[in-house]
C-alpha cells in the first residue's frame, strides 16, 4: 500500500472543515448582530435579514448539504459551489456586522475555491474526475493567501514591520504581561527582548512570502509548510490567536506526502516550460497585482494619516451634561424593592441604563428595544429590560419585577418602545 494522503481524503477533509466553519458562523453572527444592535449600528435589509437566526440556520443547512454531496464523489463541480456560496454570504454578513471579517474562517472557502477551479480545469481537459488539478488549485490558493499576508505587512507596515514592534504590541494588547504562569513568562520575555521579537517578525514575513513555493513540491513544500505551522503555533502561544483551519490545511496539503493517482496530470510545470500564452497571462496578472498593491498602499496611507490627524484634535472643553435625575417613572434615589434603590440613570445609544444598589451590591438593568434574539423575564412587549447574565435571577428578580411593572403602567396603552424612545430623547 502506498503512503501519503489521497485526493479523496483531501476532499473529505476539506468538506468537513467547511462544515465546521459553516456551523461556527451561526454563533459568531448571532454575537456580532447583538453587538452591532447594542452599538446602534444600522444593519440594512441584506445584513438584517441574513443575520436572523432562522435565515442563517437555513443558509448553513443548505451549505452543509452541499458539502456532504461534494465530499461523496470525485469531480462534483457545481455542488461544490453550494457550501462556497453559503460561506461567502455568511462571511460577508459577519464582516459587515463586526467591522472586519474573521480571517481564520477564510481558509476553508479559499481551499474549496482552489479545488473547484482545479476541477474546472480538469473538466476542460476532458478528465473531470482527475482531482490532481483540484489539489494543486487548493495548494496554490493556500500559498497565495500567505503571499498576500506577507505582502500586506510589507505594503502597510513597511520594513519597520520586521522590527518586532508589531509583535510586541499584539502580545501586550492580548496578554497584558501579567506573569501568572510559564506561558506568560515566555510572552514577557519576548516583549522585553526586542531581538527575539524582531527575529519572529522577520521569519513571519519570510515564510509568508515563500508560501507559493509550496507548489514546487518535495522538500521545499514541506519546509515552507512546517515554517508556517511553527509561525501559527508560536502566535497561538504568544497571543492565544488560533488559526486551526489553516494549520489543518498546511498539514494536509503541505506536510503530508501526496499519493498521486495513476492517471493524474495536474502537476504544475516549471514556468519556463509552460506554453507562451500561460507565461504572458502570468506576466499580465503579476503587473496587475503590483498596481493593485500600490493602489491599496496609497489608500491605506491616506487613511492612516487621517486617523493620526483625528487622534490629536484641538481639545475644546465642552460643558459636561449632568446625568439625568429622572427618566420616565424612574428617579435617582427611588426605593425599588427589598432594600434596592436607584443609584444612577444613564442614557445609552439604544435606551437607558438603571443602576441599582442594594444589599448584594450593584446591578445594572438595560432598558431598550434592540432587535435581538435574547428575551428577559422582565420584558414588556418589544421593550427589553436586560439584567446582568451572570447574576442569579433570584437575586435581581424582585428589582426586575418592579422595573417591569413601572414601565408597563407608565406605558399604559402606548407602544412601550415608543415610550422608551420618548423618555430617552428628552434626556440626551
Amino acid at each position: 500500500m502506498s503512503r501519503g494522503i489521497a485526493a479523496a481524503q483531501l476532499r473529505v477533509a476539506l468538506a468537513v472543515v467547511a462544515m465546521i466553519d459553516l456551523v461556527s458562523f451561526y454563533f459568531f453572527i448571532g454575537e456580532a448582530r447583538e453587538r452591532a444592535l447594542l452599538a446602534g449600528a444600522p444593519l440594512g435589509w441584506f445584513v438584517g435579514a441574513l443575520s436572523r437566526a432562522p435565515v442563517r440556520a437555513a443558509v448553513i443547512a443548505i451549505g452543509i448539504g452541499g458539502a456532504v454531496a461534494f465530499a461523496r464523489a470525485a469531480g462534483r463541480l457545481a455542488i461544490g459551489f453550494v457550501p462556497l456560496v453559503a460561506l461567502m454570504l455568511l462571511s460577508n454578513v459577519h464582516g459587515r456586522l463586526f467591522g472586519s471579517p474573521w480571517r481564520h474562517l477564510y481558509y476553508s472557502g479559499l481551499c474549496l475555491f482552489g479545488w473547484l477551479m482545479g476541477l474546472a480545469v480538469a473538466r476542460v481537459r476532458g478528465t473531470p474526475s482527475d482531482e490532481s488539478y483540484a489539489r494543486t488549485g487548493a495548494l496554490a490558493l493556500l500559498g497565495a493567501a500567505y503571499l498576500n499576508a506577507g505582502l500586506s505587512k510589507l505594503a502597510f507596515g513597511g520594513l519597520d514591520w520586521t522590527s518586532g514592534a508589531p509583535i510586541q504590541a499584539v502580545i501586550v494588547a492580548q496578554d497584558g504581561l501579567v506573569r501568572d504562569g510559564v506561558l506568560s513568562t515566555y510572552r514577557s520575555w519576548v516583549v522585553m527582548t526586542p531581538a527575539v521579537a524582531a527575529s519572529f517578525s522577520f521569519a513571519t514575513v519570510l515564510f509568508e512570502v515563500a508560501g507559493p513555493l509550496m507548489l514546487l513540491g518535495g522538500v521545499t513544500r514541506a519546509i515552507v509548510a512546517l515554517g508556517l505551522l511553527g509561525m501559527h503555533s508560536n502566535i497561538y502561544v504568544l497571543t492565544g490567536i488560533l488559526y486551526w483551519e489553516s494549520m489543518v490545511f498546511l498539514v494536509l496539503l503541505g506536510v503530508l506526502p501526496y499519493r498521486e493517482a495513476a492517471d493524474a496530470r495536474g502537476t504544475p510545470l516549471p514556468v519556463l516550460s509552460s506554453p507562451p500564452a500561460f507565461r504572458v497571462t502570468a506576466a499580465v496578472l503579476a503587473v496587475a497585482a503590483l498596481f493593485a498593491i500600490v493602489h491599496q498602499q496609497g489608500r491605506y496611507t491616506a487613511w492612516a494619516n487621517r486617523r493620526t490627524d483625528a487622534d490629536v484634535p484641538p481639545r475644546v472643553a465642552e460643558p459636561e451634561k449632568p446625568a439625568p435625575r429622572r427618566i420616565g417613572p424612574f428617579a435617582v434615589g427611588d426605593e425599588v424593592a427589598q432594600g434596592w434603590a436607584i443609584e444612577r440613570l444613564t442614557p445609552t445609544p439604544e435606551g437607558f441604563r438603571v443602576t441599582v444598589n442594594g444589599p448584594a451590591g450593584q446591578a445594572r438593568f438595560d432598558v431598550n428595544c434592540v432587535d435581538v434574539e435574547h428575551r428577559s423575564p422582565f420584558d414588556v412587549g418589544r421593550a427589553h429590560i436586560f439584567y446582568p447574565r451572570d447574576v442569579p435571577l433570584s437575586l435581581v428578580e424582585p428589582v426586575g419585577n418592579v422595573l417591569r411593572d413601572r414601565l408597563q403602567s407608565a406605558a399604559a396603552a402606548r407602544d412601550p418602545c415608543q415610550v422608551v424612545d420618548d423618555w430617552t430623547a428628552s434626556v440626551r
Binding site: G99, L151, A165, A169, A292, Q362
Partner: protein, 134 residues
Amino acid sequence: MLAYVALSWLVRFDTGVDHQNASLVYPLDTFSMYAGKAGDASSALLVRDGQGNVRRVTSFSAFACREPVPHASAPPPCPGGIPYRYDDLVRYVETHAGPGERDAELVMRTWQLRGGGAPPPPSDCVIAHCTVSP
C-alpha cells in the same frame, strides 16, 4: 494563484461599522490583519489592587464599579488597546456585576515600544474604581 492575488488586492472595501480596510468578497482577501505599523505604544485593560499588583480582568468573578466603564466606541479616557479585545473585557465586567470584597482599580496599562530596546516600565491610567471578588 496570480489571479487570486491580483483580484484580492483590487477588491477591498471599507466597512460601515468601523473604518478598517476589509475585504468582503469571500474568499478574496489580502490577509492584512496586524499588518499596519504598530504605533509607539500598546495597552491592555487590567485590575490593579491597593498594593499595585495587577491581575487579569478575567481572574475576578464580581465587580462593583463606582464609575461606568466606557466601551471602545466612546471617547477614550485612556489610551486604547485592541478595540474588540478591550470591549470583550468591558463586557466581562458588565456581565459580572456583583458585590465586591476588596478595593481595586480598572486600569489601562501602557507600554512604550519605540526605540528598539526593551520597553520602559509601563504607566497606568485609571478607568474606574471598583470593589472586586475573586
